[in-house]
């Protein structure tokens, strides 16, 4: 065990996301009525007020929107340095995901294509991102 903070995979708001990640899929909730992606997931759809949601599978790809290279550790079990990225999802315009970068942080630029990587940590699969295409299959 790394002792780092992990998501609660039982939390109904995000359970489908972590279950999808464990299968190597990028899954986000979307409104069953109007199909608006619910991210981050709220109990009521921001598009139509609907209260029913279903999991939707997205291509595990996106483009870099912003980032920060963290040099001082602030979270137990996550030693610095590491890079946190904000990624615009290719398959869901307007939806962004936060995650950590796997691999080289030297060449980061606006719009850099990234692939999702599903990294097992203490029984949860975290969704990370990498610019190194060949890494994707190996890690998932």
């Amino acid at each position: 065990m790394t002792g780092r903070p992990l998501p609660d995979v039982e939390n109904p708001l995000f359970a489908d996301v972590w279950a999808g990640a464990a299968r190597g899929e990028l899954v986000l909730p979307r409104c069953a009525a109007c199909r608006t992606w619910a991210w981050p997931h709220r109990e009521t759809c921001v598009g139509c007020g609907g209260e029913e949601f279903e999991p939707g599978v997205l291509p595990p790809r996106g483009r870099l929107y912003s980032w920060t290279q963290v040099a001082r550790q602030t979270v137990r079990g996550i030693p610095a340095p590491y890079t946190v990225v904000l990624v615009d999802l290719d398959g869901a315009p307007g939806v962004r995901m936060l995650g950590t970068l796997v691999g080289d942080a030297a060449e980061l630029r606006d719009g850099l294509p990234l692939h999702a990587v599903f990294t097992p940590v203490d029984g949860v699969h975290l969704i990370e991102w990498t610019a190194e295409l060949t890494d994707t299959e190996e890690r998932s």
């Binding site: 998501p7 939390n11 708001l13 991210w39 929107y65 912003s66 980032w67 040099a71 949860v124």
Partner: protein, 381 residues
């Protein structure tokens, strides 16, 4: 004269380790503010408190107040101090309370580190489930993400950020109460600062402080000090899109202050060009630049080069944070900015006095981009 005034201000020393509790620091600042206002502390009958800090009940009990007719807590993080002036002004002009206390007391330096403090931020489950697992849990990391985006869209040089940190420290050398007094941050020192969360390095980040400051707000007619009191001309608060989530905000460069500033200029009947000085919430160097643009005090995308050119220096066209701000005076969550505005408008600032200051704008920034802004005017203006 009608409307609300700031009739008293008080503070403790600002230090890295006061060796005293939040309660003790708070009481000293309150007593000083009441002395300044010419009232007995037990006459305070309204309190605007800060979330997860000393409560109105504890203040009531410790000071043995006669009564408490108005109390509220403003949950806008660092934007709370300036927004609190709005609540206080509304209460005294409506006749609900006579002397409303706005207080900030903290052991921010000797107490718990920022990531270990209880957080009053909204939507904690987003933070816990989707952000902390990726090592994104403190303001420097969150705001670095906004700063990076600004760099992509508008460009921003290291020297621009440096000029903000160095100017704050230079101003603090004229303020014996500042934590950085006698310990200036030179350009060399700034450039040698270690990275915290890129692009923020050590000296892009504000200080941590033990201390307290307090403000008493009254209706103009209830002030005992009378003619010297600065008026609260207008206050506004604003939220960004999705104020409980920074990651999926359509445009993270649009902040709460955008809307608040628009309203405050409308209500005050004044514009940015009529301000004699500006107290800008400077938790990090870029946040100060960002707010200059948001409040209309600098053109979009140009705040950095204007700052580096000296536009916002003491003696320049629009002096910013003559006291040194959060970067160099101390982190009292921006209530110390209100105190400096009051001192400037009362012409009490000595070497750092902005000559003839009549109108001063004060901003607050907090949580995930909440904003607040006030225009204060000197007595008789």
């Amino acid at each position: 004269m009608t409307g609300a005034v700031i009739c008293g201000i008080g503070q403790t020393a600002y230090s890295y380790d006061a060796g005293r509790s939040e309660n003790q620091l708070a009481m000293e600042a309150i007593r000083n503010a009441c002395t300044d206002a010419g009232i007995d502390a037990r006459e305070i009958d309204g309190i605007v408190s800060y979330p997860f800090a000393i409560s109105a009940e504890e203040i009531f009990s410790t000071l043995r107040l006669h009564r408490l007719d108005f109390s509220c807590s403003v949950t806008m993080g660092g934007a709370s101090a300036v927004a609190s002036l709005q609540h206080a002004a509304l209460a005294v002009t409506a006749g609900v309370a006579r002397y409303v206390l706005v207080l900030r007391a903290r052991t921010g330096s000797s107490g718990a580190r920022v990531q270990s403090r209880p957080s009053p931020q909204p939507a904690q489950h987003f933070r816990r489930e989707l952000e902390h697992p990726y090592g994104w849990n403190v303001p420097a990391q969150r705001y670095a993400m906004i700063c990076r985006r600004y760099m992509i869209e508008h460009g921003l040089e290291r020297e621009h950020l440096a000029s903000v940190a160095v100017a704050a420290s230079r101003n603090a050398q004229l303020n014996p109460a500042a934590q950085r007094y006698g310990r200036p941050v030179t350009l060399e020192k700034y450039l040698g600062g270690e990275v915290i969360a890129d692009p923020y390095t050590r000296y892009d980040c504000c200080l941590e402080t033990d201390g307290a400051c307090a403000v008493i707000v009254a209706a103009a007619g209830d002030s005992r000090a009378g003619v010297r009191d600065p008026r609260i001309l207008a206050v506004a608060e604003g939220r960004p899109q999705t104020p409980d989530d920074l990651t999926n905000r359509p445009d993270p460069l649009r902040i709460g202050l955008d809307a608040a500033a628009e309203r405050v200029w409308e209500r005050s009947g004044l514009g940015p060009e009529e301000m004699d000085a500006a107290m800008i919430y400077d938790c990090f160097t870029f946040e100060l630049l960002h707010q200059l643009e948001s409040a209309g005090l600098a053109p979009l995308g140009r705040s950095g080069e204007l700052f580096a050119a000296g536009h916002f220096d003491l003696g320049g066209p629009l002096p910013v944070n003559p006291h040194g701000g959060l970067l160099a005076e101390g982190h009292l969550s921006g209530l110390n900015h209100v105190l400096e505005a009051v001192r400037q408008l009362r012409n009490e600032c000595g070497d750092r006095q902005v000559e003839g200051a009549r109108h001063i704008v004060v901003t607050g920034w907090g949580d995930l981009g909440d904003g607040s802004i006030a225009v204060l005017s000197g007595a008789g203006v």
